[in-house]
């Protein structure tokens, strides 16, 4: 990002705190308006901090696209509704190559997967393409099986709703975003589970019961195979999960990039429900 552009965007987000994380010394006014960043996060430390609260935005400043990702985080924070309505506007500075695919049934997966293959190939790395495919698998399954089941458990709507997969890439990164119309994802539970698996493994976490749906380790797969996750939930109306991937990157470079994490609850308004 050019210097003038950087100043321009920092100006427009002057009400936010972009604060470097130092052990025990975080100066902030409002956690909702704070972005924590560090180049020193240990593996799993972001999840540990996210579980503890009160912050919801964590960026690795050793990420080669740190400034771009900071801009994304600030755009998401400043306009969560806009992010939900059109995530690509926040995720990319300029219009990326993208595809928007809607689905409601499991049997539609093969068709969607075929349309996504060119986007996986855009990574120009077999390893990262595999990561993107796994993220899609997980997001799709969550939208078709887990989200409606959770909605029923929460006493929300029972009808089958349409979800969307939005795949996109520019010259720096690719994203796979899934938006469902259930709004049943419980963010603290997911973050806690990601943290527990990161620190203790899957043994005590994996759900081997007979109920259909996820095994409880899907969130961990998303965390492991992407460099950034953004989650936005509008209870009863929409859940958005977006995963970011680097392009033209070896696996070792991927591991060195460091993870970003952002999550937010958006007050329900009745907007997206029933889509």
């Amino acid at each position: 990002m050019s210097a003038p552009k950087l100043f321009e965007f920092m100006d427009s987000f002057s009400s936010f705190d972009v604060t470097e994380y130092r052990q025990g010394k975080i100066i902030y006014s409002d956690p909702e308006k704070t972005v924590l960043h560090s180049s020193q996060w240990a593996e799993g430390q972001i999840l540990e901090l996210a579980t503890r609260g009160p912050f919801n935005t964590f960026l690795n400043s050793n990420n080669r696209n740190f400034l771009e990702e900071l801009l994304v985080a600030l755009k998401v924070k400043s306009d969560p509704e806009g992010f939900l309505a059109n995530p690509l506007l926040a995720l990319y500075e300029e219009k990326p190559k993208s595809v928007n695919l809607t689905f409601s049934l499991a049997k539609e997966k093969d068709l969607i997967l075929n349309k996504l293959e060119p986007f996986f190939a855009a990574a120009e790395s077999a390893t990262i393409s595999d990561h993107m495919r796994i993220a899609f698998e997980e997001l799709f399954m969550n939208a078709v099986y887990d989200a409606p089941q959770e909605a029923i458990k929460m006493g929300l709507e029972k009808s089958t709703k349409t979800s969307e997969i939005i795949a996109a890439y520019d010259q720096h990164k690719a994203t796979i975003t899934c938006i469902d119309a259930y709004g049943s994802l419980h963010i603290p539970k997911i973050i806690q589970r990601m943290r527990d698996i990161e620190l203790s493994g899957t043994k005590n976490i994996i759900n081997l019961g007979d109920k259909p749906g996820g095994a409880g380790i899907g969130c961990s797969l998303l965390h492991r195979y992407s460099t950034g996750i953004t989650i936005a939930v509008k209870k009863g109306e929409a859940t958005l999960v977006s995963c970011t991937f680097p392009l033209r990157t070896s696996y070792k470079q991927f591991c060195a990039i460091g993870k970003n994490l952002q999550f937010l609850n958006i007050p329900p308004t009745g907007g997206r429900n029933g889509k």
């Binding site: 790395s125 595999d130 399954m141 043994k203 759900n207 259909p212 095994a215 070896s250 591991c255």
Partner: protein, 161 residues
């Protein structure tokens, strides 16, 4: 992507070629496994996996704790699950061969190199990493995994033994 199992039987051994995706559509009948002493899974054509597929896989194999299980041609996405998910490779299981990604910084080329039990690694946790993996310009390529994590299952088996 629909998963597919191509099963061949020889005496008390089942050779099962797995292709496509190990996902929520995975349809594995335990009846198939009854009577087999050895199950050999070939993962060469596996393209994807998700958490539901992992769960079904573990559940499918768990009623056969005494059956010898062999995993062959494991791509990285399968090795990752072996290392990260308890039970994905049963306690009686053995990895006969797996792919190791290599990367060339110079050209950006990738290569999948097959490591085979008895050649590049053994039952005692030892690794014999091939020295001469080169890209199209004959420049050396680097192993593209975090070795302490990727080869963990080899050492883990040794500890368990």
């Amino acid at each position: 992507m629909a998963n597919n199992f191509n099963i061949k039987k020889t005496q008390d051994t089942l050779l099962i070629d797995v292709s496509g995706s190990i996902d929520e559509e995975v349809t594995l009948s335990s009846d198939v496994l009854n009577g087999a002493n050895t199950l050999i899974f070939d993962f060469k054509e596996v393209k994807g996996i998700n958490s539901c597929g992992i769960r079904e896989w573990i559940k499918w194999l768990s009623p056969f704790p005494k059956t010898k299980v062999v995993y062959r041609h494991c791509p990285k996405i399968i090795v990752d699950q072996i290392n990260m998910v308890d039970g994905f490779l049963p306690a009686t299981g053995k990895v006969e061969s797996f792919f190791v990604p290599y990367y060339s910084d110079g050209t950006g080329e990738e290569k999948q190199v097959l490591f085979t039990l008895g050649k590049e690694y053994d039952d005692h946790g030892a690794l014999h990493i091939p020295e001469s993996v080169v890209d199209s310009k004959n420049e050396p390529m680097e192993i593209d995994v975090i070795e302490s994590k990727y080869f963990r299952f080899i050492q883990k088996k040794q500890k368990a033994a």
